[in-house]
Symmetry: C2
Subunit: 216 residues, 2 copies
């Protein structure tokens, strides 16, 4: 794991860096080598100062009158985000979403390597899904401990989420990526980052309703 970031990078900055990365990749595929802050600002409808500041946090400086070398910016962002190292992870809960994440090939390019999955369903235990072995949930904590796994991906139904999170923590897991639609209670220094589809859809719906009131 990269040792670079000594400080917590603000979440909005991290999220913008990922978006810049996606866009720069597209520009690169179209054969572009350099890009100016002004062009980026226009594409993202953001302030050029904002972008310059975000890239500064990532340790990236542009050249006056030239702009940013796209390959250098991409490499710096990937290093900052920890994508240049691969972090082994366990996944608990092989339902529809869990299985889909096991098959998400892009993860390995973004620093995540799911090495095993865990479930309670006897029909799933012992099988492989998208090439990843599925073990009994009862084996998760001892295996995590033995293999020194620090990242757990939680894709179990909401009522089971707290129990399974506790199992992860018992196995020495320090960071939980939570897809279960529920609030987890974890002790310090365990970190939790939740992907809330409900929140995201609520944001979309609220913006849509706002647009309609503006235009009608």
């Amino acid at each position: 794991m990269s040792e670079r970031p000594l400080m917590v990078i603000p979440q909005p900055t991290l999220k913008r860096l990922v978006v810049y990365h996606q866009w720069l990749k597209q520009l690169q595929e179209r054969g572009r080598d350099v890009v100016s802050c002004t062009v980026l600002a226009r594409d993202f409808k953001l302030d050029a100062t904002q972008i310059r500041k975000d890239l500064e946090i990532a340790g990236i400086a542009g050249t006056p009158r030239v702009g940013y070398r796209i390959d250098a910016v991409i490499a710096s962002i990937e290093s900052l985000l920890g994508w240049t190292n691969v972090n082994d992870a366990f996944l608990a809960g092989v339902g529809n979403l869990g299985a889909a994440l096991l098959g998400y090939e892009r993860f390995t390019r973004q620093g995540v390597n799911i090495i095993a999955a865990f479930d309670l369903d006897p029909a799933k235990i012992g099988t492989k899904i998208h090439g990843k072995p599925v073990f009994s949930l009862t084996k998760m904590a001892p295996l995590a401990q033995r293999m020194k796994i620090k990242i757990g991906i939680l894709t179990v139904p909401a009522p089971a989420a707290q129990t399974v999170a506790d199992l992860m923590i018992a196995g020495g897991i320090e960071a939980i990526w939570n897809f279960a639609p529920t609030a987890l209670q974890v002790p310090e220094p365990i970190v939790v980052e939740s992907v809330s589809l409900a929140s995201s859809f609520a944001v979309l719906l609220n913006q849509l309703q706002h647009q309609r009131h503006k235009t009608t």
Copy 2:
């Protein structure tokens, strides 16, 4: 669709309201009727004033010395988020993630009703996945227009995302829920909300690295 929110509710507030909702549902299942702001603040490690302010935005007031009636708060949040109405949506891209979303039963309780899916793969066209019919992508725009669908869920691979988003907009879709790992360019007044797994994992990894530096 609910006509209540005339203004854009700040995204952090919306996201917290969804978390409060999840937590209050859990308290309710344990037989609780009322909850005080102080208890909520303790459970969420948030400031009580913050919670009171969020609930005020949702039009919810507590009773001094009693607190909030849990059922009333849940109902108000659901109404504000638009969950009491169901919004028909089309989904484009029936890969692993798209198929998982088609099977996500919780969506109907959160205001989303996916009524059809679209793909280019002849092996998928004409089938049903989790009970939802899959049609050819070429039929998406005319069908959206005829059925007055306003919400599109984009789960195609990144290189196809812009083209498929353009098709959605051509069909009269006004809000795109984007799961493709790419930045979309859309005209006003189209709204886009992206679920970026890469950003979310970057946040988790950054917090984990920060915790390690603190404790070592």
